[in-house]
């Protein structure tokens, strides 16, 4: 039942917020904060309840399951399940959800009720994606995130919002369709082979699929998740969407929406099609390295603050792609830490970008400079997150990138070296951000106020979590471990059978 609450609360909360929008602007905000705090509390409660005994879940990773028949004729069920991996991602979702409501407190001033409805429904969709283990239901939630996000950009976005929103919609929708086709194909392949037509993830695992079909199906999923991640060359929707979205939209996009892609790789692409994924692995890793370097290079050239941060996201998510397809415990754990840490550090940079835009109505880096004197608190905070983003040890991102690279090193040394060069590139663009906004001579005389208490609380919360992950990441690593162990083992078994078969041929 708890799992159901995780979905119902934001859905109901969203509707209440919309309805209460008529009464003024404060009620929807408070409803949203309360709803998300309850979700966050529930997540922490689950975490607390299972943390000490999480090691016991060695055979079945699901800590909690919830299943009701939905359309039994087609083998569709309302099947939710949660393991350590989903738990971490839901905690992140609720945390960043609260933060996006709080940062929109002053920024969003019209249609406040509808705004919060959309925000909460996106979050509900994201939570659904993280716990739906029926592929049909999963696709349902996958689409559910999309439409309110489209509204968020097109209604509350900036100057080019229509273009960005439609681009976002087409990219994700088109790639989502490929996944739908792959899901249906998998459903029929499994049904024809076994007589059991079902969308249940547990049952579909280990479906016997001929190599060529598996490759096509895997690619169907890969494209959908690759667009979301995003990986070069299907990343171009992201800079536009980020630049045009309101702050909360950017936070949710960078912190959560991109992570559904990463989650999809770990949960679906590799476990469902281990052999095809391994065959494709080398290309995927190359795409990861290209994303790291190309994203960083583009970030460096940008003059729009939000666009710059968007490209750094492409670069950071390249590490996730790399970590997933290196497919060993170190790299996978690294990918998960990158997912969480990047959500916080990049989310915070977008909040700062939004804060600056709110104050001086521009995102143009060429018009900033020397702002340290004017807004020292904001500058120090920005420095912190820039350092997190360049992978400074002691902060969360380092742990993730370090684990990805050290795990990757076993699989492919040259690619690791190229990916490591990305760290130098990250140094270049991170210090460049600080230089152009806060250091140097002011280019224009801006009058702006420093971060207020509300903003400082948000920033402090994010800084503390990043420091915590950087210095004591073990709660996260331990929580994810059983889930990853099981996925790793399943894939290993498949591969072992595979090598055994091929040995026989000789």
């Amino acid at each position: 039942m708890t799992l159901l609450w995780l979905l119902i609360i934001p859905i109901i909360g969203g509707m209440l917020a919309w309805m209460s929008g008529k009464t003024g602007t404060q009620v929807p905000r408070w409803i949203s904060v309360i709803a998300l705090t309850v979700v966050f509390g529930l997540t922490l409660q689950i975490w607390y309840q299972y943390y000490s005994k999480i090691d016991l879940f060695t055979e079945q990773a699901w800590l909690i399951e919830f299943e009701r028949a939905w359309i039994p004729q087609l083998g569709i069920s309302f099947y939710l399940a949660l393991d350590g991996l989903s738990l971490l991602l839901i905690a992140l979702t609720a945390f960043l959800g609260i933060i996006s409501v709080v940062v929109s407190w002053k920024e969003i001033r019209h249609r406040v009720g509808f705004f919060h409805f959309n925000l909460l429904w996106i979050l509900a969709g994201i939570i659904g994606v993280f716990i739906a283990l029926d592929l049909f239901l999963f696709f349902f939630f996958w689409e559910m995130m999309l439409i309110p996000m489209y509204f968020l950009i097109i209604i509350w976005g900036h100057e080019d919002k229509r273009y960005a929103a439609i681009k976002f919609f087409i990219f994700t929708q088109a790639s989502g369709l490929m996944m739908l086709v792959a899901i249906l194909a998998l459903y029929f392949v499994h049904g024809n082979a076994t007589g059991v037509f079902t969308f249940n993830y547990n049952t579909l695992l280990g479906t016997e699929i001929s190599a060529s079909v598996a490759m096509w199906l895997m690619l169907g999923f890969f494209v959908a998740f690759g667009v979301k991640l995003p990986a070069v060359p299907v990343h171009t929707w992201l800079p536009d969407a980020h630049t045009q979205a309101p702050t909360a939209g950017s936070v949710v996009l960078a912190g959560l929406l991109l992570k559904t892609g990463a989650y999809g790789f770990i949960r679906f692409v590799i476990p469902l099609f281990p052999e095809a994924a391994m065959q494709f692995g080398f290309i995927a890793m190359i795409l990861g390295v290209v994303s790291i370097l190309y994203g960083a290079k583009l970030a460096f050239a940008q003059t729009d603050f939000k666009r710059l941060v968007a490209y750094t996201s492409v670069s950071h998510m390249g590490f996730v792609l790399l970590g997933v397809f290196a497919w060993n415990e170190l790299a996978l754990q690294g990918a998960i830490v990158v997912i969480i840490a990047h959500g916080l550090s990049t989310g915070a940079l977008f909040i700062l970008a939004g804060g600056i835009q709110e104050r001086i109505h521009t995102r143009d880096l060429d018009r900033m400079g020397g702002l340290w004197t004017t807004v020292p608190r904001m500058a120090s905070v920005a420095l912190f997150f820039a350092m997190a983003s360049l992978g400074l040890p002691g902060l969360g991102n380092f742990i993730g990138e370090f684990l990805v690279l050290i795990g990757m090193f076993r699989e492919n040394i040259p690619l690791t070296v190229f990916a490591a060069i990305g760290i130098v590139a990250a140094t270049v663009y991170s210090v460049w951000i600080i230089q152009r906004i806060f250091h140097g001579e002011p280019r224009e005389k801006w009058q702006m106020r420093d971060l207020n208490l509300r903003e400082m609380v948000v920033m402090a919360a994010m800084m503390i979590v990043l420091l915590w992950i950087g210095l004591y990441p073990r709660p996260i690593l331990n929580t994810a471990k059983p889930a990853l162990d099981i996925i790793l083992r399943e894939v290993e078994e498949v591969q072992m059978v595979d090598t055994w078969d091929s040995d026989l041929e000789f």
Partner: protein, 630 residues
């Protein structure tokens, strides 16, 4: 007693945090007090622990304090754990002790700066990170300290952020050192892959068992670690950032860019010397790089006009000597020179700071002169520092440490006579540029008026450092003069002495006399050029060849120019030509074509029935034709 070890890095971190959060609301006296006081506490604690260490050494002369397990994935289990042994103790002593006096000096030196609290916050953060670097018991924790000091170096070089050139210098330092760090990071990966651990002690214990000398892994690993060391310690080819790093406040140059951080590379190699010994070829490379750096930077120091840049090149050059010592296996000598250098170079930088302050922020040594009467304390202490740097015999610590390095570079089994010769040439150059600097500052005509004299805290610091610049040398005396080996005995538990070839005392004495004569000659040359015949220097630099050489040396042997052309410009060019991301044009192209097709087809919808009928007929004909033909 040793359980208190964690407090030593904790105090600086705590006060850094306090200053960052509350610093803007504190009076300057309080933020200065917290800033310097915390380092003072750490220094006292270091000395207490050091005394305990000497009096009742722990088992195996090492003590490890595990605070908590940091990461735990598979067999990667680095802990937040501090490792105390003779090597880390020497480093800690220099960091906290010299660090404290530099902080004390700064409380007076920086008093007119608005960002007083921010300055101390960064300085304390630096000390904390530097302590973690030397105390870390595994390579990942070492990396944490390593990157932490890099960050603080970046922040403090760019401390006066309003000037764009300071920001440029700061970014340059950060990025160049991070290039080396990537090499080091990959070295860590390699060591982990082959040993299954990142704990330094484990790796060093395993290394001789699992690797043959000269085999691929130790050679590659030591080369990669060397990459990190070259960046941090500003050695050729990654030395370019240090002269520009002088943009930071002078106490920063003293603490970070002379006494402590830039010697982190020396520490890294000493710490992992077992791996380097399995790669003799790399050892030789370390020595050669050290020598080349010592000479190149020495020549550059000869031509500089900015006082701080003279000292910066001198630092690069002196660290070159430490690398020379490391490469011949004389780790003790390298650490000894590290310690004496920390004293006298910090002294010189702080003296320079006092002079620059007194002369209205004038940094050009050609605009100084004749101030020895007006600034007596600064004069005498600076003289002691210069004497030590130039390795004036018998009475200076620099003499003993440099002699030790020169002797080992000849007598060690990794050494040879060429190392000695070039090292001695370097000592000659050192003497020349040191005397040149000294003469130009204190002798000749007065060109700038002394505006104000250093106060108590600056004076105390200068005197204390001058004292240690002198006496620190007496704990290690060569065979020819007393044969005291307190320092090398102490550090031998971590850094065992490399076997040396037996030479007669006479040989050693001869080499010492030669080196001493070269120093004397160097001082005479400077005397000749800058006091007796000042026109000679002018004549030399005004000839076309002299001018070219002078400019070449002045600009640091063209490295900056080369890197600008080879790395910076191509990267900037690449990012400029593809600012708008050409991949996006594929998608906009698709959208564009779709739009054109849409317009094209919508033009056929004219609403004209005759037109529709005609198209229908033509279409039917075409279809029928195709059907018939096929």
């Amino acid at each position: 007693m040793f359980e208190l070890l964690w407090l030593i890095p904790f105090f600086p971190f705590l006060s850094a945090l306090l200053l960052i959060v509350l610093g803007s609301r504190m009076p300057k006296s309080l933020s200065g007090g917290i800033g310097a006081g915390s380092i003072g506490l750490s220094a006292v604690l270091t000395i207490i622990i050091g005394i305990n260490f000497l009096a009742s050494p722990p088992e195996n002369y090492s003590y490890t304090q595990v605070l908590w397990t940091w990461i735990d994935v598979g067999n990667l289990t680095p802990a937040i754990a501090f490792h105390l042994d003779a090597l880390s103790l020497v480093m800690m002593f220099v960091i906290t002790f010299v660090g404290f006096f530099i902080h004390l000096y700064s409380t007076e030196y920086m008093i007119h700066d608005d960002a007083y609290a921010r300055f101390f916050a960064y300085m304390n953060l630096f000390v904390g990170a530097m302590l973690v670097l030397v105390l870390g018991d595994n390579l990942v924790l070492l990396l944490l300290g390593w990157e932490g000091v890099g960050l603080c170096s970046y922040l403090l070089i760019g401390f006066w952020y309003k000037k764009p050139e300071n920001g440029y210098a700061a970014r340059k330092a950060f990025v160049v050192t991070r290039v080396g760090d990537i090499a080091m990071l990959i070295g860590i990966f390699l060591l982990f892959m082959h040993t299954g651990t990142v704990q330094i002690r484990h790796i060093l214990d395993l290394a001789p068992q699992i690797w043959m000398p000269d085999s691929v892994v130790p050679v590659t690993a030591s080369l990669l670690l060397l990459g990190g060391a070259l960046g941090k310690s500003a050695q050729v080819p990654l030395q370019v950032w240090l002269p520009d790093a002088m943009a930071g406040p002078t106490p920063v140059s003293a603490l970070i860019h002379a006494a402590t951080m830039v010697t982190a590379g020396v520490y890294l190699i000493a710490r992992t010397h077992v791996i380097f010994e399995l790669a003799p070829a790399i050892m030789t490379i370390v020595s050669i790089i050290g020598l080349v750096t010592a000479l190149i930077a020495g020549f550059s120091a000869l031509t500089q006009t900015d006082l701080k840049r003279v000292l910066a090149y001198s630092t690069i050059s002196q660290i070159g000597y430490m690398f020379l010592a490391l490469g011949v296996g004389a780790y003790g000598a390298a650490m000894f020179h590290f310690m004496t250098h920390a004293f006298f170079k910090a002294l010189l930088f702080l003296g320079a700071g006092a002079i620059i302050h007194a002369l209205h922020e004038e940094q050009n040594i050609f605009k100084m002169g004749g101030i020895r009467k007006e600034m007596p304390v600064t004069f005498w202490t600076f003289l002691i520092g210069c004497a030590s740097l130039a390795a004036l015999p018998l009475v200076t610590s620099g003499f003993y440490s440099k002699e030790l390095i020169l002797w080992k570079s000849f007598s060690s089994q990794y050494g040879n006579v060429w190392f000695y010769i070039f090292g001695a040439v370097g000592a000659f150059i050192t003497a020349v540029y040191t005397s040149r600097m000294f003469i130009l500052i204190f002798y000749g005509d007065k060109k700038t008026d002394v505006s104000h004299l250093p106060g108590t805290r600056i004076t105390i610091t200068l005197i204390v450092l001058a004292f240690f610049s002198t006496v620190a040398g007496f704990i290690e005396l060569p065979h020819t003069m007393g044969d005291i080996t307190l320092f090398s005995n102490f550090i031998a538990s971590v850094l065992p002495a490399v076997p040396v070839f037996d030479y007669a005392l006479g040989t050693e004495l001869l080499l010492q006399i030669i080196a001493t004569l070269l120093v004397a000659l160097g001082i005479y040359v400077a005397f000749l050029f800058y006091i007796k015949r000042p026109d000679m220097a002018g004549e030399f630099t005004s000839s076309p060849a002299g001018k070219a050489v002078h400019s070449f040396w002045f600009k640091g042997w063209g490295f900056d120019w080369l890197y600008e052309k080879v790395f910076v410009q191509p990267v900037v060019y690449l990012s400029q030509i593809n600012k708008r991301d050409f991949i996006d044009s594929i998608y906009t192209g698709i959208a564009f074509i779709t739009e054109i097709l849409h317009r094209l087809f919508s033009r056929t919808q004219t609403g004209n029935v005759r037109w529709y009928a005609m198209v229908l007929v033509f279409g039917a004909i075409i279809v029928i034709t195709i059907a018939v033909v096929l």
